[in-house]
Structures are given as C-alpha cells and as structure tokens.
Symmetry: C2
Subunit: 131 residues, 2 copies
C-alpha cells in the first residue's frame, strides 16, 4: 500500500514531515529509535518526529519496543510483520522471527484476555558466533 493512501485511510493530514517519517519507517526492516529517524530526516525537528510517532502509535501504524534498553524503538506495522525479534548480543543486530506463535499456549496458562504480545530473544548472529 502507498503511504499516501495509508494516511488518507487513517484520516491523518498528509504533511511533508509525516509523509517522510512514514516512508522511512516503512522502508526499514529494523525498528528505529527517534534519533535514528532524526538522522535520516535531518530537516524535521525532533519534537515533530516525536509527535508524529505518538500519532502513528495511536493509529496502530507502528509498534513500540524496548529491546532491553532505555531507548524506545519503533517498527512499521503490517500484516506480514508479527513483531518478534532476535537481537545479537555482540553486534546488536535485530532480525525478525516469522511464523512463531505461542498465543494459544499462553491462553491456556493464564486467566488474562490477551490483546497483544511481544517477544524478544537475545543471542549471537551467525557472523558473531563464528568469531
């Protein structure tokens, strides 16, 4: 789906900053922090990036994660992307894990009504486990 149509669908006024931030996030396979977005969009003020991301979060366009760090990272949300990542202890690389589903098992173990979930795995990527 094109960014323009997505913003229309979500009833978000399509300003230049929003268009650019959405494009950058949509094209990044790895979750990005606010200042990583700022580095790419150096013509946009940090506070505007911050407010745009908050808006995208409310609209369900991005998800927010803390990969064992105090800095939040944001990931463009779509059907094919299920928000399970694995992070390399050595180089910090984040990679998505697809088709892993544990919801049914968790549902059996708890009386909570599960609405969302998030998993984080840490290890060594193939390159780092060699050396």
């Amino acid at each position: 789906m094109q960014i323009k149509e997505l913003l229309q669908e979500k009833k978000i006024k399509a300003t230049k900053p929003r268009y650019k931030i959405a494009s950058v996030l949509a094209q990044s396979s790895a979750p990005m922090s606010l200042d990583e977005i700022e580095n790419v969009c150096d013509d946009i003020d940090f506070s505007s990036i911050y407010r745009t991301i908050k808006l995208f979060l409310q609209k369900g366009m991005v998800t927010e994660h803390y990969f064992g760090e105090k800095k939040a990272k944001y990931h463009f949300h779509n059907e094919s992307n299920h928000n399970h990542f694995i992070k390399c202890l050595k180089c910090g690389k984040l990679e998505e894990i697809k088709n892993v589903c544990i919801i049914d098992e968790v549902n059996k173990k708890t009386a909570f009504k599960i609405i969302d979930h998030y998993m984080e795995f840490t290890g060594l990527c193939p390159d780092c486990s060699k050396n």
Copy 2:
C-alpha cells in the same frame, strides 16, 4: 536460600543497603522499578539503589525488563522464575506466566544461537475484563 549466603556466594560485600534491597526484591513477585524500591527503602539514597541494582545485574541476581515503558523494572532471578509476564492494559498489573517454553521452536526458525529470551503479553486481567 538466605540473602546473606547468596551475597557471600556471589562475593558481594554484605552492606546494610545491599542486604535490604536484595530482601525487598526477593520478596516481590512483581518486577520493581528503581523508584518503587526507593519507596520501600526510604533510608537508602537513590544512587545507591541504582548502583546496587547494576551490581546485581552483573552478578546475574536480577533481570531487567521494559514492559512497553521507558522505566526499567527489575526482577529477582532464580530457577523457578522464567521471566515471562503478562500485563493488564487497564490496571497495569503484572503476572508471571510459568511453564511456557518456545525456545525450541525459535531455534528452528533462526540461524542465531539463542542465549536469552524475554516475552511480554498485554491483555486484561480477570477483574478488568469483567468491567
């Protein structure tokens, strides 16, 4: 295991602040933030709590988590505790999920060598899903 013996085993000088912080964490089933610890240990300076927690982290006595928040929470680590939590969207209550294991499945899906993992589920606890 007694706190005193644990500190000895980890070769940590058993000062009063450390003893108290370890006791508080060991007795709490829910992960605690630094200022939640400070509220209970109001005679201990915040910076000492901070440094003690960093030490406990290095020694593998506690684990650090961000439950979709920018504030870190710390959880006493032991064999019976496997670090999978579920958080109520409405009241924020955190509850531990036991005996959920997905590591084998993730191992099949990725070339990473998995060293640690962490899962977070969000939903409504039984009380909150009633109202």
